[in-house]
Subunit: 190 residues, 2 copies
């Protein structure tokens, strides 16, 4: 079981662990950020990762120019990691990766993320998850209302891998963009 | 000239400078945050302020539980302050206040905010500004493409106040929500 870490390390340019010239070995978050940048620069959609919220306790002002934060703590985000716009519609999603072979552990999704994505649905926005099974090198895009319903009905601590094969859209990694999640959005919602 | 400060102080509950039981004396950012909370809790729309981005340089781990950031700096945001969803559509806006009586100083809007709102328009999202003239106690919602066009055509360092009276929608402050900006969105875009 492996949550997306913060801060997220990414492979140095030119070094591709596993020998695959695409993205293999880079974390899911880095793959998505790279893809979002490519989508923005090519005018496909406008999606950003939200900054990690920080509770600032003390700030020094060594010069007039630059405030230096000397004590701060990470806060739990109240929403998901990514949002933006595509063809006028509101997009909102959360990315999770797990090393678990057999399924997706429910405790990777926080209650406030579920509540947030339920509200996105209520306001007719497009909400989904991007889930990577790192040990299998498989990544799926899944509709948020569908996964949340499954999580609430689930009596175990995880949702079996096969459910994602049946209900998700598999994202094949490529070069540009690295993780073509927008094609899956087209297929599911437009 | 006064940019929205960070961190933003808000008046303690029950104390209303100026004797107005509504919001007078509170900063624009606090008014908008209060209103967004009211809109969320009443299921009207789902809009959040994005966290202020922070560049973390050093982190201590005094315990396994809590990472303590000991050196960090505020970063310039690459986008606007607020975004979210209303009736399926993507909303994106920036809030600015000025003490200037005669007009709105152009340098209050950063080039990256202009570029971002131009991209929002290109993707058919709804982008706007909420501008407050504090000395006049007047607040307007203005369409972003309209204001950006005016800024680019403007040969002076500010846009006259009267332009906002003619082109903006005035927001009358109230109790719930404090700053009813969504009504202006209905009027302009739906």
């Amino acid at each position: 079981m492996n949550k997306i870490g913060y801060p997220q390390g990414s492979a140095p340019a030119g070094i591709t662990p596993g020998g695959n010239p695409a993205s293999r070995g880079q974390g899911l978050e880095a793959d998505i950020n790279d893809s979002n940048l490519w989508y923005r620069e090519n005018g496909k959609c406008l999606v950003y990762k939200k900054p990690t919220p920080v509770q600032v306790v003390h700030v020094d002002y060594p010069s007039r120019q630059r405030a230096r934060i000397t004590e701060a703590y990470y806060k739990t985000p109240s929403t998901t990691d990514y949002n933006g716009v595509y063809r006028g519609r509101y997009l909102d999603f959360e990315a999770k990766e797990t090393r678990n072979i057999r399924g997706f552990p429910l405790n990777l999704v926080h209650p406030h993320q579920i509540r947030h994505l339920e509200q996105v649905e209520r306001h007719d926005g497009i909400g989904f998850f991007i889930i990577r099974f790192t040990a299998r090198q498989k990544t799926f895009l899944v509709d948020a209302p569908l996964l949340i319903r499954e999580m609430k009905a689930c009596s175990h601590s995880s949702i079996p891998y096969v459910w994602f094969e049946e209900q998700g859209v598999e994202l094949q990694e490529g070069l540009y963009p690295r993780l073509p999640w927008l094609a899956a959005v087209d297929r599911l919602y437009f």
